[in-house]
Symmetry: C2
Subunit: 345 residues, 2 copies
Amino acid sequence: MTGDSKKQITSLKELADKLNLSVTTVSRVLNGKAATYRISSSTQENVLNAARKFNYVPNRLARSLKLDKTETIGLIIPDISNPFFADIAKSIEAEARNKGYSIIFGDSMDNIETEEKLLQLLQSQKVDGIIVAPVGTKQEHLLHAYNEGLPIVVIDRFFRNSELPYITSDNYKGAYDAVCYLIAMGHRKIACIQGIHDSLPNIERVEGYKKALKDNSIPFNPLFLLGNSFSKQNGYDIGKTLFSLDTPPTAIFALSNLISLGVLEAACELNKSVPSDFSLISFDEQPYSAYLATSMTTIDQQKHEIGIQAVHFLVNCIDNNIKEKPFSLRLPTKMIKRNSVMNIN
Amino acid sequence: MTGDSKKQITSLKELADKLNLSVTTVSRVLNGKAATYRISSSTQENVLNAARKFNYVPNRLARSLKLDKTETIGLIIPDISNPFFADIAKSIEAEARNKGYSIIFGDSMDNIETEEKLLQLLQSQKVDGIIVAPVGTKQEHLLHAYNEGLPIVVIDRFFRNSELPYITSDNYKGAYDAVCYLIAMGHRKIACIQGIHDSLPNIERVEGYKKALKDNSIPFNPLFLLGNSFSKQNGYDIGKTLFSLDTPPTAIFALSNLISLGVLEAACELNKSVPSDFSLISFDEQPYSAYLATSMTTIDQQKHEIGIQAVHFLVNCIDNNIKEKPFSLRLPTKMIKRNSVMNIN
DNA sequence: TTGTAAGCGTTATCAC
DNA sequence: GTGATAACGCTTACAA
């Protein structure tokens, strides 16, 4: 052992002192600007070696403070335990890191106050931009931050006539296709269990549902449009309600994968089975969809692509400091036909 | 409109200037230290009002740099799209925020190099501590950071004889119980599809499997212990292998929820069904477990509690700057009996 | 080819 | 009761 201990070094200055160099030079080498400043290759090597040897890890706080850039993106998700959002989060994290950004993650628990607090926290942490799947009941806070210059992109749930850029699925068409399919299979008593009323994906899915009915001359029955949350509990509650109707629906269109799971729970309790007692189509495909009691017909969304596109768009805004004024993207959905819909023609 | 525009104010100095006060005073009021320094209540009010009015958001970067504390916890997860980890992540984020910490999240994609890069990144971001569900094949990098003073707690996958504190399920007993149950139901040809070999949860589950066989005088058959990943693909591959054996197993014990889904996929392709053609028990309960083609018997883990405990332990280490030397926690599992196991006695 | 020093926005120490 | 000022670790004019 020589005198040089391998003790961790925590600042450029310490490193510079050890090398009898200035912090400037060390900083330049470490940032790959050696060529620009024509730093001798021996100096370069010394710096690089010392940095490695003493396991120098630059302090990004200081760097960010100076540069006014954190290379960090805030991600707000209403429920990470919903695999739909977990899948999106995964692709966002991967793509962001790929582009040099870290993710600060917050789960709003579908609560608008929590979402507001998270936004404020992320702002104080000086994230370079935010990707948010909002609760969907209010947008003022987002709009305010956006207008102050914070790049934001909204995913999945969004707002009608909003300036906020968003990326989502083609909810209208996805729903329209699903209901048309049910009708083609002979169903006329089709219930729809919906999620959060004010959120646009919900609104658009319901519009698709109604349009499909109308185009097939089936009168809309308000008793068949129920629910107010994308949760399993909601599916369970409304499922029970529907099954106890005098004339229950022959088919149910569930607007989320959790809702459909709740419907299955209710059905199980009441000894109803799919598709003999009722048919079922669910928004959002999951790995288990094919292996349910009756393999489920689903409306698959491009979760991975939503994440990728969101990062691309946001990073582009950040890097080029632009605000593409109105921006929106609706990615097509795809119906995966399985056995949960019975042909009753 | 008066001259006072509501333009965003971004530093204490600006705010202080507007108020004709020093940054010191403003800082004190905003940090609730007004009483300590006996600041006049009129000044207090002025400061508070101005901060609100100009929507002042403190810069946490500067604060963190000065205080050498970021109120931030790094979270490394091998696959957030695995609902097991998503559930844990959710409880970690909630509990951390509850205690005043934000989460910087990274998905290692079950790749050890990615995990190492993430660790380094988190260190440079000066997180106050790290919660990691490691890939499980290597621990040097974690140990190194830990010994340099970074608080770390390992969850789920951990390392034998490691100094690193960890929180996980009682994998041994969970597996032992599952296999004993299969044996009690008359099974003797019991296959086990395992995950990552070197990870201790896997090792301990396999030990539980072997011990249960031994305690019941069933010889261990190496052909019945296969697989090398917690993924669905692995379950699918090994499932196919097992079903094509001359004497296939009558029961399969899958060491993760994704593995069991893969087995179901393979079974589906080969027209085998549960439990008539083979019985199945899976580690990890999920919301869909009850609604699969045959409702599945599972070994439920206390995911929520794992997250809570991890945050408690870590925050305690951070706040009190202690290193409880050897710390470990194994939370009990619970078998949820459903219909995927047939009594063949 | 390398170095000096200012400044990013905080908080803490000391002074008045 | 309030205020100057140094310091946290970094980048970057501007010097030399």
